[in-house]
Each structure stands twice: as C-alpha cells, then as structure tokens.
C-alpha cells in the first residue's frame, strides 16, 4: 500500500508498522478496538484525541467510516487482510463500474492534453479537468485506472492531517530537520502546484514526498504526469480560496508545453436536509457571498469556469446493473479457491438477496456498497438475537430475511427515507377512524386498521357552529404515545409510534415535502386553502432568531395538514415527489450571479455609479434594454454589450411544461431515483473553446478563435 501525503513524511522517519504496534499495546487504545459486529451490540465511545493521534497509520483509500474498521482489521489479521475497496481497486476498464462513454470522455481529455487531439492544437485548452459527482461514483478510480493505462504519473495533493499546528511549529521543525518538508498548510498549496506542474525533474527526484503512483517511467526525458487535486485545501475560507484560485489561474496562464494538466475531483456533498436559515430566508438577495458548500463554483475562480481551459465532466451515481457486475466480480475473486489461502474461517459468500439489498441501499455509491459487501460477508452466519433487532421501519418483504435486512439497515444506515416515505404518506393519506381500507390492502393491514379503530375513543361532537371542523379521530398520532400500545409493538405497527419522535426530518423539510405533494390529495380548493394557509402561517410564525422559533412547528404543520385534508382521501394512485425547492434555490443562485455581473458592469464607469443602480432595479427594469442591446449586437458593432450572463434573468419564456424533473420518493429505495439507465449518462458538460467562442465573443481573448 503506497503511503500518501503527510503520512508519508512520518513514515520516512518512523515506519508505519512500528507505529501501529506501539499504539496497539497501549491500554487506552485497546478499548477502541472495534469489531464490526460487537459494535452493534455495545457501541464504543470514541476518544477524539486518541483517535487523531493515531492518524498516521491510516491507509490509502480509507475515508469516513472506513477508517476505524480498517485499523481493526490491520491489527487483527495483519496487512494482508485489507479493505476490499483497496484490495479490489479496478485496474482495467472492465473492472471499472463506470459507463464506457464516461471513461472514454476522460480518456479523450487525457489524450488531448498530452497529444493535442487530432489537430494537435487542443493541448493548449486541456489545462484543468473537473470531475464532479456524488461520493463513491468512481471518479478517482477512473483517473487512476486511466493513468495506469496511459502511463501517466499522478502527483497528488493531500492536506496534512495536523493542520492545527501553528505555522511556526512547522517552520521550526523545518529548520531543524531537512528531511521534513511538510507542506500541509493551505498557504503552501501554491508552491506545490507551481513545483508539481513545472519542475518535472525536481518532482521526479522528490517522488518520496509527493505521492507518485505510476509504474515506472523514470528513464524518460519528459514525463507524462498529471496533478490530481482531490483533497482540496479549505476553500471555504475566503483567503485560502483566494490563494487557491490564484494558483490555478497562474498554472493555466503558464506555458502549456511545460506544465502538467490538473485534474480536480469534487464530490458533491449534496444538499443537506436543512439548509442554512440564511440561505433559505434571504434566498433572493443574499446568497452567493457566503457560499458554504463545496462545489465547482467555489473550487474554481469565476474567470476560469466559463473559460475554454476548463473541462467539466459530471459523474452520475453508479447504475445498479454496473454495480451488480462489479460486486459480483469482487465476490467471485474473494471466494474463489485462490482466496481460501487467506484465513477466513467463518465467511461464506453473501446471498443474492443480500447483494441486491446492498445495491439497492447504496444509492449508487460504490464505495459504500463494497464496504457493506465486505461487512455482509463477514457477518453472515451470526444471527442477532430478537431483542437486539431494531424495530424495522420498513415492512420487510419476507420474514425470513428480516434479520439480515435489519442488520444491513443498521450497517448502511440508509433507512432514513423509508421512514420519510411513510411519514409523508401517513400525513397525506390522513386516515381516520372508520375509513374504508384501500381495496388492494392486504388482509393484515385491514385487520391492523380495525385494531387501531377499536382503541380510538370517539371524540365529543362539536357545537353546531363549529361543525365544519368536526372530524373523526385520526389514526395518526402526532405526539402522544399511548403506553399500552407501545408495550405490544409485537405486531402493532409503527403507526402508533409518534410521528414527531420518529421523524427523520425537521419541520422545515416536512413543510417542503407537504407543500410539494398536498395538491394531489385535495379534492377541492377549500382543502388546498387550508393546507396552504397552515404552511404559510407556520412558516412566518416565530421570531427572527433561532431561539424565537416556534417550537410547535412540526405539530402545527402535521395537525393542520391532517385537519385540512379531505377524509377519506380519494385514492388516485398519488406519487409523492421530492421538493423542487432546492433545485429552485440552486437556479436562483445562478441567476443571481448574472444579476451581480450586470450590476458590476453598470457600475464600471462613473456614470453608472452615480445612477445608484441596485440589484433589484437591475432585475426589474433593465430586461428590455439588455435584450434589445443583445439583439443589435448580433450585427457587428464596436459597442461592448452587457455580460452574457444577463440572459439568465432577462429571458423568461412562458412555457406550458414544468421546468423541473420531479423525483419520486420511493418506498423501496433510499430516496434517490434509481431510474437512470445505463445509456443515460452522456450529459457531459464540456466547455470547449471552439463551441463557446462565437457566443461569448466579447469575453474571450482574440487568439482563442482561430486556433480551434
């Protein structure tokens, strides 16, 4: 296992093996020993201090939850028992679970970066490749596989794990010890990039310091190497981001023949369930300046994002078929006869069912799938007692597989949107006492509903002037948990567990889900009005700060919704969708960038300044003129026209169809729509100089056009 980054520095002076052995003799660390199974029964409390002091012993691909498990494995069985994600790293394209076309895109880029494509001129523009996509979509693996295939050397930047050291400490040790060329501080990133991209020979000599994974190409005069930036410096910090951007721009501007292309890998963190309240509330006026998420726009300077020097390739979550093939390969090689030599007494290959479940629950994240697979293959055969079996929130399809399923649910911790699905369903279907069951409902459910009904007390009738508010008692219990029912959870379903206590989401997100879906469940407008008025009222109740927030939001929303919806809800095969809200927020952000561009463009000279344009005025009043200007500037003229980004907000065609792709919240998977097909992932967003130039002519340099 090749060491990387900062840990390699340590290892030069102090071999990793020894480090591990010393730490395992310390009694304090003994406690931390983590067997994947026993952890389920009695969770171990981690001591963050001890944990971080051990960090040099971490291995290559260990990320997130992988770390702890891996160390344990190392301690137990020696080095040959590695994590499967390391052991089965794809070496060839056949093993890579990425769609062929996507791999070809990346390969094409590499070839163009070194040979310049068919015309030989593209080389100049293949400076930065951005690979974006959710975690575990084999972005890094693709780069590594291709570098192996094409004989490229990878220079990788790794953040130091001990960034909390003061800079002085490091300088001191730097002075005292010449071998210690630690470069973990984000300020030094720039130096790394210059050196890595320009100084081939120097880097070649120092390949101990910077991780190199090429086979061996030391003999060649000019090495084909790429700079891989995966572990980015903390670019959410404004100053670090600035230096990072400067470094990138500098490397783009430098001579392309002597510098190596840069590959940046960005894992989309995705949207958190609860967005920052600031982002939410001041969505239209205030986002963008305090961006808190790591995405392409924060990672790259704005001048580069639209430029021809940057190519962006989006990776999609791994398709189930591809993943299944990959996992099957791993299973085959792991449980083939040759693997028997590894001591694996209790393990047997996981069943097909387990495999399917892993794929289903992995959300297209192959890393987590392999982790789960390894775990599953070690844990099969040990059955958990019924008492430790968590009360599964999903109705398991077959009783037999329930323990495995529950176990896997705990491991993958992906049960969340199962509960979400049921939560939304419970609220929107608004079942009340005496409602007829759905015609397709199995007998067991009908039986269960009756059971619940018998326990529901009839409510006293309301006086006549309030009779419009009369409702049957609801089968949904928002808050109070009836003690006698919880005792017999044996077969009484979770419907009597409190919604509030079990809700995986908070009131803000709940309101968005209800808002997205309530209309399908309403029969007429009065019901819509009721739901909407509740949502609106709850949203504006409470004060501005968090401590003034209304603590009953969740209850008000759920009870208000239950009260307003028709009883019984007409069944018309409704599907629950995920809120469009976040998509809207994202697009608003893009548009706002455009507004800001135009605003700055207006203020670029003294006249504009005096005009006192504000961004609202720009949006509301400038549209027609900008459009007229743009139309005219199609005819060649010497006038500079407004920034092209103005189109983002000036163009608003009124169309019939919706602009959003709606995602269904599903019962059987974990929220992400798995409907993408294998051949569906060719949405490569390339920004080539050749295509983009005519449109954005005013903003590119002159020499960009004729070369492509």
């Amino acid at each position: 296992m090749p060491p990387k980054g900062s840990s390699s520095q340590r290892k030069l002076r102090q071999p990793a093996v020894r480090k591990v052995s010393t730490s395992s003799t310390e009694p304090a660390n003994k406690k931390q020993k983590l067997r994947p199974l026993s952890a389920l029964i009695s969770p171990v409390v981690f001591d963050p201090v001890n944990q971080s002091s051990q960090s040099p012993s971490q291995g290559t691909q260990s990320k997130g939850k992988g770390k702890e498990v891996q160390r344990d494995v190392l301690l137990q069985n020696g080095t040959e028992d590695q994590m499967w994600i390391d052991l089965h790293e794809p070496l060839t394209e056949e093993n890579l679970a990425v769609h062929r076309r996507k791999v070809q895109d990346v390969r094409q880029w590499f070839l163009e970066a070194f040979d310049g494509g068919p015309s030989g001129k593209l080389r100049k523009y293949r400076r930065i490749l951005v690979l974006a996509g959710p975690a575990g979509t084999a972005k890094t693996a693709t780069v590594r596989m291709l570098s192996r295939e094409l004989g490229l050397e990878i220079l990788e930047w790794r953040n130091g794990s001990d960034e909390r050291h003061h800079r002085d400490d490091i300088y001191d040790s730097y002075d005292h010890d010449e071998h210690f060329t630690y470069e973990g501080l984000s300020e030094r990133f720039q130096a790394f990039l210059t050196r890595a991209t320009n100084c081939h020979s120097v880097v070649g000599l120092r390949s101990n310091n910077v991780k190199s994974s090429s086979a061996s190409s030391s003999g060649q005069g000019v090495k084909r190497q790429i700079v891989l930036l995966e572990d980015l410096p903390n670019i959410l910090h404004a100053r670090t981001q600035q230096t990072f951007h400067e470094a990138l721009v500098a490397s783009v501007n430098s001579n392309f023949l002597s510098t190596s292309p840069i590959v940046i890998i960005i894992s989309d963190a995705g949207l958190r369930g609860e967005t920052d309240p600031d982002d939410m509330s001041y969505g239209s006026s205030w986002k963008g300046k305090g961006r808190e998420t790591l995405d392409v726009r924060t990672a790259l300077p704005r001048s580069l994002i639209g430029s021809p020097y940057v190519t962006q390739i989006e990776f999609n979550p791994i398709a189930p078929t591809l993943m299944k093939r990959a996992l099957q390969q791993i299973i085959d090689s792991e449980f083939s006869s040759s693997a028997k030599s590894r001591s694996r007494p209790s393990a047997s290959a996981p069943s097909k069912e387990v495999l399917n479940f892993i794929i289903e629950s992995s959300n297209g994240d192959i890393r987590s799938a392999i982790m789960a697979l390894q775990f599953a293959s070690t844990s099969v055969g040990i059955s958990l007692g019924p008492d430790s079996q968590p009360s599964g929130k999903g109705k398991s399809k077959s009783r037999k597989s329930a323990p495995t399923r529950a176990l896997m649910e705990v491991v993958t911790r992906r049960e969340q949107s199962l509960a979400l699905f049921h939560l939304i369903g419970k609220l929107l279907y608004n079942k009340r006492k005496g409602d007829p069951s759905a015609p397709s409902a199995p007998a067991k459910d009908i039986q269960r509903d009756r059971e619940i009904d018998t326990r529901l007390k009839d409510l006293p009738k309301l006086p006549s002037h309030l009779s419009i508010h009369d409702r049957e008692p609801s089968r949904v219990d928002v808050e109070v948990c009836h003690a006698e029912f919880t005792l017999s959870t044996e077969y009484l379903p979770s419907i009597f567990q409190t919604l509030y206590a079990d809700s995986p989401i908070d009131s803000g997100l709940l309101s968005l889900y209800i808002h997205q879906n309530y209309t399908q469940f309403c029969d007429d407008l009065d019901q819509c009005e009721g739901v909407m008025d509740w949502l609106s009222w709850v949203d504006c109740s409470g004060g501005e700060s968090w401590y003034q927030a209304n603590p009953y939001r969740f209850h008000l929303i759920s009870l208000g919704t239950l009260h307003s919806l028709p009883t019984p809800v007409t069944r018309r095969n409704q599907k629950n969708f995920k809120p469009e809200f976040f998509d809207v927020l994202k697009r608003t952000r893009d548009c706002d960038d455009g507004v800001r561009d135009v605003h700055q463009w207006l203020r670029r000279d003294e006249y504009g300044n005096a005009g006192g344009w504000t961004q609202t005025k720009v949006v509301l009043e400038l549209g027609a003129v900008l459009k007229a200007r743009e139309q005219r500037s199609n005819i060649p003229s010497d006038q500079p026209f407004a920034p092209p980004s103005s189109r983002l907000f000036t163009r608003m065609p009124f169309t019939k169809e919706s602009h959003y792709h709606l995602e269904v919240v599903k019962d059987d998977n974990t929220g992400v729509d798995m409907a993408w097909l294998e051949d569906n992932d060719d949405d490569r967003t390339t920004r080539d100089g050749g295509e983009a130039t005519p449109l954005t002519g005013g903003w590119l340099e002159d020499d960009d056009i004729e070369e492509c």
């Binding site: 305090g290 309101s511 399908q520 909407m532 949203d539 809207v584 005096a610």
Partner: protein, 357 residues
C-alpha cells in the same frame, strides 16, 4: 457605452428638469450650513437618487463625483464573513442594505461608527461632516433601524445621513422624526416628454417624435428611468422610431400577467400545481417575491368582479406581511394564489360568504 439613463443624468441642481421648487429648497439647504438628516421618498424612477447626488454636489463641489468602489469585509456575530461592495468618495459613502440581507445591522453600525469617529481632515473641504447615503431604506430590518436612531443623534457633528426610500411606511417613527422628509413625486407626462426630448437632442438623431414620446411617457407610469430605458430599447429595435411601436415589457411582467390569467381561468388543485411552477420560475429569475405578488394581484384585480377586489387586495396585504416575516417565499405566494382561487370560485358559485373574514 453607458446606458442613456446614466449618461444623461443631471449632475447639478440646475440641470434638473422638473420639481424646480424642490431644487431651490435643496440649494438653500445646502448653502445654509445647517444641513439636516434627510429622507427622500417617492415612487421608483422619480429622481430621488439624482436629487441626492445633485445635493451632494452642491454641498461638496466636484469632489463627490470621484467615486471608488471598495470591497470591505465585515464580521457577523456568528463569525461569518461578509464581503460588501461600498461606493464612496472623500465626502460620502453609499450603502445598499438589501445586498447584505439579515446582516444589515452589522454593516450599518460598523460603517456609521467608522465615519463618525473620523473627522474630516481635508482643510479645504466645504463641510465638516461626511454624508452616509442609505439606499432602499425601506428594506432595512427593524434591528438596523433601531440601531440607526441613536447614532443619528449621537454623531450629528461628524455625519449626516440621507435615506432613500419608496415609502415611509416601513420606517419606524423615531427615524422619520429625526429626518427632514423630502417627497420626490413622480414626474408628470409632460415632464417626461420634455426629458425624452432632451435626451434625444443629445443623440445624433437630434429629435424624437412628439407622439412617440407621449406614448412612452404614458406607458412608463411616471417612472422616468423606465421611460428613458424604453426609449433606448425602442431606438435599438426600430432605429427610425416610425410605424406602430410596441413597447417591450420586461419578460417577467408579461409572465406575471399570464400567471394572473391562469388563476382566473381555472380553479383546481391541478391548476395550483401549474401556477406554482410558474411562481418558482419567477423566483428563479430573481424577481423579488413582493413584486411578484403585487404585479399578479394588480392583474387579477383588473379582471374580477368589483365585489371581489377588496378581498383580493386584503389577502395580498396579509400574505405580503407573511412574506416579510417568513422563510419560504413560495408558501406565501402560493397561499395567496389558493386564497384568490377559492374566493373567485365561491363567488362564481354564489356561495354565501358571510362570516368569512
């Protein structure tokens, strides 16, 4: 090339085309040496900012026109960093609080404190104080307004504040009472025509047809900025300004109109969904939600029966307040839409609406 609005903006009080009485008053105020805090208010495009700039010019001379844009970093209480662009000259500084969202209080306090604590060092400066201009003062949060009122008294020796707002109704009384209120009314149509002709006279084509100018003025609804912008756009579309002219509305306005039509056409849960996606689209294009609400409400009111108009506006007002207090704008917009739909539908079916608030 700058926009005509910016290019032909009057620079001094003498250049102003209308509201002569106001110009005279401002001139004598600037000369008096006892310059108060001021609050300019009036509809959008009436010339508030222009008058402020002219007054500054009168106060300090040509120096105020030398502007620079600074990027300043402010720290919020939650240790979050804010980058704010600030326009300033040696004599004044300009802030637009809506650009910093909820943190306007922090920014305003910092800036005011800084200005207040530094004396004017330029001996040749005409006035001993600096001026702070706060644009869109009606979007100041309550906090920020409260923070202002003490500072306004305390630092009177070093600093004057000029607020600029569309309406005084969103400002708290203590601020209003500390300012000299100056109302800048929208120009009349004749005045707009005069200005358009002035702008035309500065251009190579020299003049604008009286009827065209009148048409633009009528369409602009008293918003001079809009009139000049429309004029420029028209000139670009049809350079000779002849034939039937269609005054191009911004896309969002047409869009709002169509949304209003959708609301009137059909009232059903499905239609609510369709309207919602349109509302989202408007929000995506950075149109402020209160503007969306107002524009759609205006169009709806135009089309419904007399007896419904009051109710629709009543609910628009209620949901506008909720918009300001709430987080998720779409909820309130949609809630209003649903409300209007119900009102309309019930009216249509002649259901007794007594007891309906």
């Amino acid at each position: 090339m700058s926009l005509w609005v910016d290019l032909y903006r009057p620079k001094t009080l003498d250049d102003l085309h209308y509201h002569e009485g106001l110009s005279n008053r401002l001139r004598s105020l600037a000369a008096s040496g006892d310059f108060p805090h001021m609050l300019f208010y009036g509809p959008s495009g009436a010339g508030k900012k222009t008058r402020i700039a002219c007054t500054l010019r009168e106060l300090f001379g040509k120096g105020v026109e030398k502007l620079k844009i600074d990027q300043r970093v402010f720290m919020t209480p939650s240790r979050r960093k804010l980058d704010v662009n600030i326009v300033q000259s040696n004599f004044h500084i300009e802030i637009t609080p809506s650009e910093v969202g909820i943190y306007d209080r922090v920014v305003i306090q910092e800036i005011l404190k800084e200005i207040a604590q530094t004396q004017q060092v330029d001996i040749s400066a005409k006035q001993r104080f600096k001026v702070v201009i706060i644009n869109e003062a009606d979007s100041l949060s309550r906090d920020a307004q409260a923070a202002l009122r003490r500072t306004m008294e305390k630092y009177m020796s070093n600093m004057r504040i000029i607020l600029c707002a569309n309406s005084t109704s969103k400002l708290i009384a203590p601020i209003k009472s500390r300012c000299l209120l100056v109302r800048v009314a929208a120009p009349s149509e004749d005045e707009i025509v005069k200005v358009l002709q002035y702008v035309a006279s500065k251009q190579p084509f020299r003049s604008i047809d009286q009827n065209v100018a009148r048409e633009i003025a009528e369409d602009s609804n008293g918003n001079l900025r809009k009139a000049v912008l429309v004029f420029e756009a028209l000139k670009m579309q049809t350079p000779d300004l002849s034939g039937p002219l269609t005054i191009a509305k911004p896309d969002w306005e047409t869009y709002c109109q169509k949304v209003a039509d959708m609301i009137i056409q059909e009232q059903s849960p499905q239609r609510v969904m369709e309207v919602r996606s349109k509302l989202y689209e408007l929000l995506v294009h950075c149109i402020p939600p209160n503007v969306i609400l107002k524009t759609i409400a205006d169009h709806v009111v135009d089309k419904v029966d007399e007896s419904l108009k009051a109710d629709i506006i009543h609910w628009a007002a209620i949901y506008e307040v909720r918009l300001r207090n709430g987080n998720k704008k779409i909820f309130h917009l949609e809630a209003w839409v649903v409300k209007v739909m119900t009102l309309y539908k019930h009216f249509f079916f002649g259901i007794d609406m007594d007891g309906f608030d």
